[in-house]
Homo-oligomer: 344 residues x 2
C-alpha cells in the first residue's frame, strides 16, 4: 500500500480533505455480481476456502465503487473451524456449531489453531494484494474472543448471548480457558494474514454491548488488549482497527487502553461524544446507519453530512455503523461514495 493515501493519513492521525471510505460487509449479498458467483460453491465455508471465489468477492466492491480499502471476504467463524469445531451455515438461518459448553468438549478441540486449514485464506490474501491497486489497502480481520466464544458456546447466534454469559458466570475457569485459546488463535491468525499481505486488520467485537463492566473488562477489553499488543509486537507498524459494537460508555477506556490504532463507532454512538471524547484520543471509523443507506435519498444525505460535519475535521475513516444490509440498492452506495468524496 502507498504511504500517502487518505487511509494511511487517517491511520497516522492526520486529517484528510476527503475522508477515506469502505463499508463493513461491502463484499456480499447486496451485489448482483456476488450473488452470481455465490452458487459456484456448495456451502458458504467452501466459498470462503476457495481462493478464486474469495478473491473475486473481495475485489468486486472495489471495481464498482473504488473504496479506499478492500476487506477480505471471509467469516469470523473460520477460527472455530480451524480449532476443530464443526461449523456450518444454514441458508437463512445463520451459523450452526456443535456447542462447547463442557470442559470435555473444550478439550476435544485443538490446542492451537490449524493454520494449514486456513491456507486458502492466506492464498486469497496474497492474490488480492497482487491484484489490488496500490492505493487501496487490504484489510484482514478476525472476530474478538468474546464474540467468537458466544457462537462457540451457544452453537448459533442468540439474541441476548445468554448461553455464553451464563457459562462465564457459572464456570469462569472453563470460559477463561476458551477465551485464552481464542486469544492465541487470533494472534497466530492475524499475524499470518499480515504476512500474506494484509495492510491492516480489524477486530470485530459485535456482541460486546451486553456485558457489565466487570465482564466487559475480563472477556472483551483484556483479551483484546493482549491480542493487539502481541500482534503489534510481532508485526510492528500494521494498524489495528477495533470495532466493538454497543459499548458506548466503554469507548474512551478502549481508546485509552486497548492499544488499537482506530476505534470503530457503531450507529448508536453520539457524534458529539465521539468527537469530544474518542476522536481526541484516536482516529475513529464509522458510523452511518445501514438503514439510512437502505432508505437513500434525503435521509441518507443528511446522515452522511452529520458525520462529516462532526467528525470530518479530525482523523476519520468513513464507514457504516454496522454491516451493509443485503437489501441495499447499489445506487444508494454510489450516492454515498459520491457524497462523501464531494463533501468530505
Amino acid at each position: 500500500m502507498q504511504p500517502d493515501t487518505p487511509l494511511q493519513r487517517a491511520f497516522n492521525r492526520q486529517p484528510n480533505a476527503v475522508a477515506p471510505i469502505w463499508l463493513m460487509r461491502q463484499a456480499g449479498r447486496y451485489l448482483p455480481e456476488y450473488r452470481e458467483i455465490r452458487a459456484q460453491a456448495a456451502s458458504f465455508l467452501d466459498f470462503c476456502y476457495t481462493p478464486r471465489l474469495a478473491v473475486e468477492a473481495t475485489l468486486q466492491p472495489i471495481r464498482r465503487f473504488g473504496f479506499d480499502a478492500a476487506i477480505l471476504f471471509s467469516d469470523i467463524l473460520v477460527v472455530p473451524d480451524a480449532l476443530g469445531q464443526k461449523v456450518s451455515f444454514e441458508t437463512g438461518e445463520g451459523p450452526r456449531l456443535e456447542p462447547i459448553d463442557t470442559s470435555a468438549r473444550l478439550s476435544a478441540l485443538r490446542g492451537e489453531i490449524d493454520l494449514g486449514r486456513l491456507a486458502p485464506v492466506f492464498t486469497a490474501i496474497e492474490q488480492v494484494r497482487t491484484r489490488l491497486p496500490e492505493n487501496v489497502a487490504l484489510l484482514g480481520f478476525c472476530g474478538a474472543p468474546w464474540t467468537v466464544a458466544s457462537y462457540m458456546v451457544a452453537g448459533k447466534g442468540t439474541p441476548d448471548l445468554a448461553p455464553a454469559r451464563l457459562l462465564a458466570y457459572r464456570d469462569p475457569d472453563l470460559f477463561e480457558a476458551l477465551i485464552d485459546r481464542l486469544v492465541e488463535a487470533s494472534i497466530a491468525y492475524l499475524s499470518q494474514q499480515i504476512d500474506a499481505g494484509a495492510d491492516a486488520v480489524q477486530i470485530f467485537d459485535s456482541w460486546a454491548g451486553v456485558l457489565s463492566q466487570r465482564e466487559f473488562r475480563r472477556w472483551c477489553a483484556e483479551p483484546l488488549g493482549r491480542i493487539i499488543a502481541r500482534v503489534k509486537a510481532r508485526r510492528p507498524g500494521v494498524p489495528v482497527i477495533l470495532f466493538a459494537k454497543g459499548v458506548g460508555s466503554h469507548l474512551v477506556e478502549l481508546a485509552q487502553t486497548s492499544g488499537a490504532d482506530v476505534i470503530g463507532l457503531d450507529t448508536s454512538v453520539d457524534l458529539t461524544f465521539a468527537a469530544d471524547s474518542v476522536q481526541r484520543l484516536l482516529p475513529v471509523q464509522g458510523n452511518l446507519d445501514p438503514l439510512a443507506l437502505l432508505a437513500g435519498g434525503a435521509a441518507l444525505d443528511t446522515a452522511v453530512d452529520d458525520i462529516i460535519e462532526t467528525l470530518g475535521g479530525g482523523p476519520l475513516i468513513f464507514n457504516l455503523g454496522h454491516g451493509i444490509l443485503p437489501e441495499t440498492p447499489v445506487a444508494h452506495v454510489e450516492r454515498l461514495v459520491d457524497r462523501v468524496r464531494r463533501r468530505g
Copy 2:
C-alpha cells in the same frame, strides 16, 4: 408514601446508608404465586385489565421480598390498545398488533387516548395504593413513544427495529404524527396514573439504543423531554425515572436535558462512567445483570458489590439493568435483597 423513605431520599438526591431496591418486571413469571393466578384470565391483556388480578400480581413481590417500590403490573402496549389499535399477546411469541405503516392506518386510530378503556388500570392503582405499606412507593409507567411506536409500526417485536426505523427515514411526517400522538397519550396516561395514586412514574425506552444521534434526538430525547415537562407541570413534585436502554453515549445528554429526576442504567453502562458523568448530575437506577441474578452464587455477590462500591456513595436506586428473567430462582432474589441491605 412517607417522605423519609430510602427511595424518597434517593429521589431527593440524598445518599442512603442502604440503597432502596426494586426490580424491573418484579411482578411476573418467575414467581410461582404469579403463575398460579395467571390462568384466571383468558389473555394477558384481560389479566392487565382485571383489577383484582393486576393488584394481586403487583403486591406479590412486595409481600415476598419487601422491595422499596411496587410497580403496577401492566404492559406498555395498553397505550396502542387504548388508541384503538388491535393488540394481542401470543403465548411464547410476544405481542401482535395490526401494523400502522400508512397514513390511512394512522388516521383510523383514535386521535386521543381512550382513558375510559384504561379505567381498570387506574382502579388497580387506587387499590394497590390502599393496600401497600406506607413506606413502599407505587410506581406507574408507560413506554416511551419511540419504543411503543416500534411495536405499532412493525406489529410485533423485531430484533433490529428495522420497520420503524425505515418508516422514520422514508416518511418522517407520518412517523412524527405517530410520535406526537403517543406523546399526548403518554402525558394523559401518566397524569391519570398519578391522580389514581402513583407516587412516581418510570418511562421505558427499551429500544432507544439502535438510533443514530439525529434520530435519537428527534424520536427519543425530544418527545421524552416534552412528556416529562408536561407531566411535571401538570402534577408537580412527582418524580420521573427515565430508563433508556443501550444509549450509553447519550446518557449525559439525557441527564442534562430530559427533565427526568432519575436516570436508569442498563447492564452495559460502565460503572465508573456512570459515577463520574451521570450520577454527578442525577440519581441513577440500576444496573445488575439479570443473568448474574439468574446465575446466583459468587457471580451474583460480586456483581452486586461492584455496583454498591462504585455507585453506592451517591444517590442510587438498586435495580436490574433489564427485566428479571422468568427462569430466575426466587432464592437468588432473596440473596440479592439480603446482600444489598447488608452491604448497601
